[in-house]
Amino acid sequence: MDSAWLLVYPDAYEVGQPNQGIQILYEVLNERPATVAERGFAPWPDMEAVMREEGIPFFSLERHLPMQAFDVVAFSLAAEVGYTNLLNCLDLGGVPLRSADRGAGDPLIVIGGHAAFNPEPLAPFVDVVCAGDGEEFVGELDEVIKAWRRQEWGRERLLREVGRIPGAYIPAWYQPEYLASGELRGTFPRHYGAPYRVPKRTVSDLDSWPYPKRQIVPLTETVHERYSVEIFRGCTRGCRFCQAGMITRPVRERSRETISQMVRSGLKHTGFDEVGLLSLSSADHSDILGLCGDLAREYEGTATSLSLPSTRVDAFNVTLAEELVRNGRRTGLTFAPEAGTERMRKVINKMVSEADMLRTADAAFANGWRHLKLYFMIGLPTETDEDVLGIAELGLKVLRIGRQYGRKNKVTVSVGGFVPKPHTPFQWAAQDTPEELSRKLGLIKRRIAADRSLNLRYHQPEPAVVEGLLARGDRRVAAVVQRAFELGARFEGWDELFDYGAWTRAAAEVGVDVNWFTRRERGEDEVFPWDHLDSGLEKDWLWKDWRDAVDAGAELEDCRWTPCYDCGVCPGLDLQHQTGHLPISSAGTG
């Protein structure tokens, strides 16, 4: 083999195994001649203890090869909560934590995934960052890796060649500068060939990348046991809190034919009995009913079920859900109103009226669904106690409807704390403190205390502080990540392992004021640590959308079926949304 890749998902196997990014790139790389890719996952603390005691290095799942045997170690970062695990994996692998300390024999450390859109808190630890779609990028990087191995380049030369690949961001080539106030003055290229802004990668035609074709089937239980196919990438619903929707634009649909073909062959090769039609809002695929109809017909009587993660709250969703359960049972149906009052929903641009929502609930219970789950956030910009109580009220109203159709019908209200994310209209927002989030949760708890059939689920508020620090942190936060790792912080996404004390101590020791990063509302002129990573979105447009949200509570329609509002993504890509929705005259330049 001329190049060996280790693809690491820095969380437990059961969470990382079904990850689409890893599954896709694993196949794309392994199909390349003379390239091999294996996978790795973060060891659970008991395993880590044994590995450290016995001197066992971080190793790959497939052939149990040590990390140092690979040319490239690529981490998939779906969220910020994997950062200490990333350091732990490197440390267990015997790879120097800091990029500057690595030599010619060490693997190239790469990160990608949604969290890579602000890589600054990891900047000293990684060699290369790829923001955006990885399918084409990994092939181009693989060519460079092979040349590196063939021609025995030094590290400097390797990085220079990698830096020529569009979308490759090399943190060591950039230098942040700060104002006396502590704010960032800018992140400036300090190396020949380093662009001022690094564009994200975008695959324009998903039909030409029909991966995963032969998804890897886990032998032990994982969080998603199903054959998954992305039915489209990108979302223009424009929910202002949603980082995924903003950074993955434009919308690129897979065709009904490609999807059917992928499902048919995917099920045959895996033996799964569930198909997941994935996207950020699957009900928005222009041909979703036809697609679900095709699949329901094809698998009728085979006990194959279809699942469709969807956040839409409307009657269409119930129609769709009916199509999905043709083969199976009606158990739970999930909706994400995200906020409890219409006012709050206008601010976040989740456009659904309460009347619509209650009609949807009525339709669902009338059709025999017995359990509705409703997802909400608290801590949103401009939120009042009335908005918070609105969550409980809405839950209770839906429950009353459910009761009309069956005494045992249930409603679950799930509440998470909002964390402002880079490249979104809410990137300027202040984040609520854990104390404030707890107080708001208390309001909801007291309001619904009387009703036992309304289940309330919520997350602890402290992990959101760390998530917020890492999400909008700059390069100075890297010292906190390293110190927290040294103090034993691991698995921030797991309540039972999350160690808030390690993080507050780490921040205090390295002199980083967490509140400054999380609780501060930013001004219009603030330079962000991620400004030199180009997600395609115009910062002016994001600012306007932010002010529209908080000043006017003004909503913004989906540009798939209303005129273009110039968010900036499409012109830069020479590509419009690829959907089967009826084209409308667009103000954009295409």
């Binding site: 089937v217 032998l219 032990t220 239980e221 046991e225 099920l267 045959k268 090769h269 895996t270 033996g271 799964f272 009995d273 006990a303 049972r329």
Partner: protein, 252 residues
């Protein structure tokens, strides 16, 4: 159509649990495109029933399952297709159709024959030298009239006598072959290991425990449940004198 199978679970896949194994079976049946029958009810499940669960980490060439199909299948082809669909380490070794009115599979699975393999060397055994601490311990267990073992039950320790569960025990090289009755509570090779260690305090942990077969215990060994073939104990060259001698000094 009902089918009984004997299958093996060896190599790395022995580290997956019984619940995970069920899923692997279901997927293999689906990949093989076999018309498995489903249970009625709210959550239909494929009709595959497994005999007693193998402890995690144990290997086996003697696992059994009964499958019900909604339509007739050709056994040879079906076994081939399932084996092609299985991951490494799993394979159906034998399959038979169940005739109407045949007694339940469980009535045929009355004992298990196990091979418990200890590390070579380590002061235990060298090929061709049966008189060593492990051989003496095997003899002592065979000769013992009671073998009290302390085990946890619902949080409190209870004492169980292993003797009634041990049908036969024999040794070849560093491998102990034992046929254990399916008693209630069930006696596992790990408990027989504790009994051996009672006579051989330096006995290390076994490197591999393999279920050889399940079936009906007879004087000559074990009649395998599906084939009716006899699984014999290892031939025993040991002297009864040494066993008697050692059983006097047993500890624990």
């Amino acid at each position: 159509m009902r089918v009984r199978v004997r299958y093996e679970k060896t190599g790395r896949i022995r580290f997956i649990s019984a619940i995970d194994l069920g899923r692997v079976w279901e997927r293999a049946i689906r990949k093989a495109d076999l018309p498995i029958a489903f249970s009625e009810g709210f959550t239909p499940h494929p009709k595959i029933s497994f005999a007693d669960a193998l402890p995690l980490g144990y290997a086996s060439r003697g696992e059994y399952a009964e499958l019900t199909f909604a339509a007739p299948i050709r056994l040879g082809q079906a076994v081939e297709a399932v084996n092609a669909a299985f991951p490494d380490g799993l394979a159906v070794l034998h399959a038979v159709e169940v005739a109407e009115g045949e007694p339940k599979l469980a009535t045929r699975l009355r004992a298990s024959c196990w091979d418990v393999t200890y590390p070579e060397g380590g002061g235990l055994s060298r090929r061709g030298t049966p008189l060593n601490p492990l051989a003496r311990a095997v003899d002592a267990v065979r000769a013992a009239e009671t073998l009290p073992i302390v085990r946890e039950r619902k949080g409190s320790p209870i004492t169980v006598d292993l003797c009634p569960a041990i049908h036969q025990i024999s040794l070849r090289s560093a491998s102990v072959r034992m046929t254990l009755h399916h008693t209630e509570p069930l006696v596992r090779p790990s408990q027989a290991h504790l009994a051996l260690r009672g006579f051989c305090p330096d006995l290390p942990d076994a490197t591999l425990i393999t279920r050889v077969a399940q079936g009906v215990p007879v004087d000559e060994g074990l009649i395998e449940a599906l084939s009716g073939q006899l699984v014999r104990p290892y031939p025993q060259p040991t002297q009864p004198e040494s066993a008697r001698h050692l059983s006097d000094q047993r500890v624990g």
